[in-house]
């Protein structure tokens, strides 16, 4: 037995057709027709309903004060559930109708499709006669994007027995959409019925009643209520699963379809051909990916090994927003993914490309040409192409992707399906092109989601603009390594414009590396806050590309990617905890303090925690207005792992070293001045290079060693010196101090920033008066030269510190995870 619930309000005449359509069923189960007069003030309604109820014993009439559609349906549900034989409830609005075979169909569906909680119709409208397809297959992400399940659906009793009812707060509409999502939350899924049985009365008035104006508000209400779907990874994961993003054809003949290259299902050539032609005929119903990628299998393996497979495919997908084709040239070098800003009319770039990507739209247009020669000509010669350059160490290339492309096109053309005009098997109902991907992105902080769900968490993402062999980067790597050791999975997001120039070991702690290079990501020309310029907003698309993959994180740590601050708040509804990690303030040539810590102050409300590299910086930010509970000082330790070195007292000339950038901050000029003064009694070693600022003039006798980018190189350097001189103008808590101390080197450093947290004057090194660095350094060096025992004692005192990073990781986890 089933029940049909017909709520009635202000449809005193049309309800006759609804009721009649129930009574005129050709077979099917017994049915109780429950008319719910929702307090309609028209006497005609009352007369009509009472007439039907008086004439037919299977009609129940209920009248209640006007409470709205949801409440009326709920009243009908309660009535239906009173009968234990009732297996399901169909909701028929008073102006709609059922086809005569509907009850037969309901009986069949309830019996033969036990896995489904409800059964929804094709959108067959009368009045304004239009027939739309319901999609012909279930997809949660589709339901999340549009209400493809009309209220005119059959719902199993079990759904109501779990307590689900229509939400009476949805008075302006979408109450049915809310109901279906509620059913999904309870574990039910819907079944799109492919045959007609339900008729929706479409009137022109329904197009102008302000539904569109209300749409934004109602969607907001829906998304807030169903945060389990819209505010979590559930929706992106469902979308990735239900609507594969890539078809990957490799030169070994393997064809894969999926959202992630390594998790995609392998399909036969026959299935590939069938899916392509299905897509051509019924694009709105097809699940064939919008992007085709051709490459050698070695390329996939190499990208995966370099941890940039996801990021590369993400950027390929993004490139096809600008051009129908994209080509990827892979070279040997530091990790990099760079998309050119402009498309080029150079189809011949395909000949030498290592990866070729094209949109299904482009392939469709080519296949319209019907013969091989014009198809290939259209695909290659006439294409505008967006080039991408990818590099990683020692890439293996394999076969030419153009051949794989040719073979795929050939398989399509020799198929008998190619001879059929695809319009001949197009669905006779109009397709509904739901903007699913766009809606998923909207709910995903505005960006396309990452390609696949992540493994066991928690997951921490570090976002940084520049990734080289610098102090900030080494801190990041050290903390990530310690977090990894304590069970946290870390991911690296390099969003900037500079080339990546980091040692291989610096990528080890990260599961995936995401790279986005764009000049807009390093524009510090925005508004000033506390005297420091903010980053400029890079535009919605670029911002979406940055935020999209970050939504998978549990914690996002912004390590100076200032551009992200503009929209980072979009991650907050996802329950993602946000941090900034601050290291140092700089000085202008006039001595004014500036730097990213000030920008972070401007976004303080955004962050759950502000991590500092020193206690001193935390204190300073607290004094500038950051509440204490938000400050998380993680004092730096050495930037890489190593054992403490105990050195014997040294004889002979002392070797004094400098390590760092030749820029105004590091003040290499002061080192040179000291060296010139003491060159006869000491040896001086200069290591580093110019990065910013004007060139430094060095004496001929002091030729610098090139910058060091390896742990062994650093160890060798520290082993080669007795004293490290750091005459900087500004510092945070430099890693070089901590690394040098561990290596048994005595540090002489200007007393700026948080240097005093690492160097106890006279005990573990010497602090130099910042206003008198050169004379103080000369005096200190002369004193140490004379008192070698003091030198050795200072070295021992400094080398015995415990490893900070494990402590820092524990503090991070306790505070944020």
């Amino acid at each position: 037995m089933i029940a049909v619930v017909i709520p009635v309000w202000h449809h005193p005449v049309l309800v006759d057709e609804a009721v009649l359509s129930c009574l005129a069923q050709a077979g099917g189960p017994e049915a109780e027709i429950i008319l719910v007069n929702d307090g309609c003030d028209l006497s005609q309604t009352r007369a009509s309903l009472e007439g039907w109820a008086a004439a037919h014993s299977n009609i129940t009439l209920l009248t209640q004060p006007n409470k709205g559609l949801s409440a009326a349906r709920n009243t009908g549900i309660e009535q239906a559930l009173k009968n234990p034989a009732c297996k399901g409830v169909f909701f028929l609005d008073a102006d709609n109708m059922l086809d005569p075979h509907a009850f037969q169909l309901f009986e069949k569906l309830l019996k033969t499709e036990p896995d489904y909680g409800w059964f929804y119709p094709q959108v067959d409208m009368f009045g304004m006669e239009v027939n739309y397809s319901n999609g012909n297959s279930w997809a949660l992400s589709r339901l999340a994007s549009i209400n493809c399940s009309d209220a005119g659906s059959l719902v199993r009793r079990e759904v109501f027995e779990q307590g689900l009812r229509f939400d009476t707060d949805f008075k302006q509409g979408f109450e049915d959409w809310d109901f279906w999502l509620g059913a999904v939350k309870l574990g039910f899924i819907g079944y799109p019925v492919i045959e007609s049985f339900f008729r929706y009365r479409k009137r022109p008035e329904s197009m102008v009643t302000g539904a569109n104006r209300k749409d934004v508000l109602l969607r907001g209400q829906l998304r807030a209520k169903h945060a389990w779907l819209y505010g979590s990874n559930r929706l992106p994961d469902a979308w990735n699963e239900e609507y594969p993003r890539f078809c990957i054809v490799t030169t070994d003949g393997r064809i894969r379809i999926g959202s992630h290259p390594l998790r995609a299902r392998t399909v036969s050539t026959e299935d590939f051909v069938a899916e392509v032609f299905h897509q051509r005929a019924n694009p709105a119903e097809s699940r064939f990916p919008p992007t085709l990628v051709f490459c050698a299998p070695e390329v996939l393996e190499g990208l995966a090994e370099a941890k940039i497979l996801d990021s590369t495919f993400y950027q390929i997908e993004g490139a096809l927003r600008h051009a129908p084709m994209a080509v990827v040239d892979i070279s040997d070098g530091p990790r990099s993914i760079r998309a050119h800003g402009k498309v080029v009319d150079e189809g011949n770039r395909l000949l030498e490309a290592d990866m070729i990507a094209l949109s299904m739209h482009h392939l469709n247009a080519a296949l319209d040409k019907e013969d091989m020669a014009p198809i290939i000509s259209y695909l290659i010669e006439g294409a505008t192409v967006l080039p991408l350059e990818v590099s990683y160490a020692n890439p293996a290339k394999g076969g030419a992707p153009l051949e794989a492309l040719m073979e795929a096109v050939g398989a399509l053309l020799v198929s008998p399906m190619a001879s059929v005009d695809f319009r001949q098997y197009a669905n006779w109902r109009s397709p509904v092109f739901a903007p699913i991907g766009k809606d998923v992105a909207t709910c995903n902080a505005g960006g396309r989601p990452a390609l696949a769900p992540l493994g066991r968490g928690p997951h921490v993402g570090f976002a940084i603009q520049v990734f080289r062999f610098g102090g900030v980067e080494k801190c990041l790597v050290a903390l990530a390594g310690a977090l990894q050791a304590q069970g946290v999975t870390c991911h690296l997001f390099i969003y900037g414009v500079d080339d990546i120039d980091a040692a291989e070991w610096m990528f080890e702690p990260f599961e995936k590396v995401w790279i986005l290079k764009n000049s807009a990501l390093r524009e510090w020309g925005g508004n000033r806050y506390m005297g420091t310029n903010d980053a400029e907003h890079p535009g919605e698309m670029l911002m979406g590309d940055m935020l999209g993959p970050l939504t998978q994180m549990n914690v996002v740590v912004n390590c100076g990617a200032g551009v992200l601050n503009h929209e980072l708040t979009a991650l907050r509804p996802r329950g993602i905890r946000l941090c900034a990690w601050e290291h140092i303030t700089d000085s202008t040539p006039y001595g004014r303090s500036r730097g990213t810590p000030y920008i972070t102050l401007g976004y303080e409300g955004l962050f759950d925690r502000i991590i500092t590299c020193s206690q001193r910086l935390a204190t300073r930010l607290g004094a500038l207005g950051v509440p204490e509970h938000k400050l998380l000082p993680l004092p730096n330790g050495p930037g890489y792992e190593g054992a403490a070195v105990q050195r014997p007292a040294r004889k002979g000339k002392l070797r004094i070293g400098f390590l760092g950038r030749f820029d105004p901050q590091k003040q290499v000029e002061r080192f040179v001045e000291v060296a010139e003064a003491l060159r006869k009694g000491f040896e001086f070693v200069l290591c580093g290079g110019e990065v910013f600022g004007k060139p430094v003039r060095l004496p001929d006798w002091l030729s610098p060693q090139p910058p060091i980018h390896s742990r062994k190189g650093l160890d060798d350097f520290y082993a080669s010196i007795d004293v490290l001189l750091i005459p900087s103008r500004d510092e945070g808590l430099p890693l070089t101090i901590l690394e040098a101390q561990r290596a048994g080197v005595v540090v002489l450093a200007s007393n700026v920033g948080a240097v005093s947290e690492a160097v106890v004057d006279g005990e573990s090194g010497v602090l130099l008066d910042p206003s008198n660095v050169v004379p103080a350094a000369i005096a200190a060096l002369q004193a140490l030269d004379k008192d070698r025992a003091l030198l050795a004692r200072m070295a021992r005192n400094a080398a015995g510190k415990p490893d900070r990073w494990q402590q820092n990781a524990a503090a991070f986890i306790e505070s944020l995870l």
Binding site: D124, S196, P416
Partner: protein
């Protein structure tokens, strides 16, 4: 579940006359949530004593919201109810009369439309889909989903692989069939038609055909949609699906000495010089657009003619400009030029003197490329030689 059709009132104790079903008022006065099962009372008869409590009750709000009158005299309510019913009945009769008139006007308009279409030489049928045989076959009881909706569906041709008999019905996936079973008779390999007495009407629905025959059925080329495959096969049946207007004439399948029509989908792809020709499969018409100079020559080659015949091409000019179109059996002949006024249907004729194969050469001329002409098909009308 059922409701009783009788006068019942909700009434204070002792206030109601005999012979009326009375529902006691008192128990309802304290109710907070009211869901009334069955017919509402004709009225609420409330005594002066109950009135203060009644006015404060949820019941009072509910009844007033539902339009149930509140009174202390049943006669007054009954009188008003009778008057209202009479007025409503009169209004309904007036509306029925208006609807009858509208229905008659609709019938007249429809008849005029049919006349207009006939006068305009517009074909009254269309080949909605054509899936040609591709060599494969299937036998036994076969179900085939149709790729079209039901509206206007009048016939399907299926491809018989040999002689024999069978039957076909147009049905729903679930529910009753559309009409009776149709007998099939095949004289050998070729098309066999199953035709409904009249095209299906009403609202669009999904349709399947079910065939049982002692001859094998030809299959078309494979297509990717499994739900469109014939039972037990990996391809759909070879089919032609015909749609039309009620009362339309359906073309014969094979030339039999009488006139017959080759719809656009049955014509070979034309050779085109200047301009473009595209088959609009949904409308069963060749869409013709001249080149930038307004000129277009196109030829359909190899049209079989069984005898001397008049060949009529059915054309339609959609554009805002007039077009001239000529038809001849060779490229050189200067044929009579036919003017196609804007928004017009025009029949263009040509005579062939003997049986054989003929090429249909068309020359289209317009003042600009901004014209759009449909060629819906050609009719072969055998004549005495």
């Amino acid at each position: 579940m059922g409701q009783q059709n009788m006068i019942r009132v909700l009434a204070s104790e002792g206030i109601c006359p005999d012979g009326v079903e009375v529902i006691a008022l008192a128990p309802w006065l304290g109710a907070d949530e009211i869901v009334w099962e069955g017919a509402l009372p004709l009225c609420a008869l409330v005594s002066d004593a109950d009135m203060p409590a009644f006015e404060k009750s949820a019941l009072a709000r509910f009844l007033r919201g539902a339009g149930v009158p509140v009174s202390d005299r049943l006669e007054t309510v009954l009188g008003a109810a009778v008057l209202a019913e009479k007025q409503a009945a009169a209004a309904l009769r007036a509306e029925q009369a208006a609807l009858r008139q509208d229905y008659m006007r609709l019938q007249q308009s429809f008849a005029e439309t049919e006349d207009f279409l006939n006068a305009a030489f517009a074909p009254t049928f269309t080949c909605a889909r054509a899936w040609e045989p591709a060599g494969g076959e299937v036998s036994g009881a076969v179900e085939q989903r149709l790729p079209t909706g039901s509206i206007g569906l009048v016939a399907v041709d299926i491809w018989a692989k040999g002689k024999g008999q069978g039957r076909l019905c147009f049905g729903r996936l679930t529910g009753p069939d559309f009409g009776e079973e149709i007998a099939l008779e095949s004289g050998g390999e070729g098309w066999v038609r199953a035709m409904l007495p009249k095209p299906l009407a009403g609202l669009a629905e999904d349709v399947v055909i079910r065939v049982e025959a002692d001859f094998a059925l030809g299959l078309s080329l494979p297509i990717p949609l499994e739900y469109m495959h014939a039972t037990g096969a990996d391809a759909p049946l070879a089919m032609r699906i015909w749609k039309g207007l009620p009362g339309c004439r359906i073309p014969d399948m094979e030339p039999r000495g009488t006139r017959y029509v080759l719809p656009a989908s049955s014509l070979p792809a034309p050779e085109v010089q200047g301009g473009t020709a595209r088959l609009m499969s949904g409308r069963d018409a060749w869409s013709l657009h001249p080149g930038h100079d307004g000129k277009m020559d196109f030829v359909f080659r190899g049209i079989e003619v069984p005898s001397a015949a008049n060949i009529a091409a059915y054309t339609q000019n959609f554009g805002p400009e007039p077009v001239t179109l000529s038809l001849a059996d060779n490229a050189e002949e200067v044929a009579r030029r036919n003017m196609l006024p804007p928004e017009s249907h025009v029949q263009i004729d040509m005579f062939v003197t003997a049986a054989g194969t003929v090429d249909l050469h068309f020359k289209l001329r317009a003042a600009s490329p901004l014209v759009s002409v449909f060629l819906r098909g050609v009719e072969i009308i055998p004549m005495a030689e």
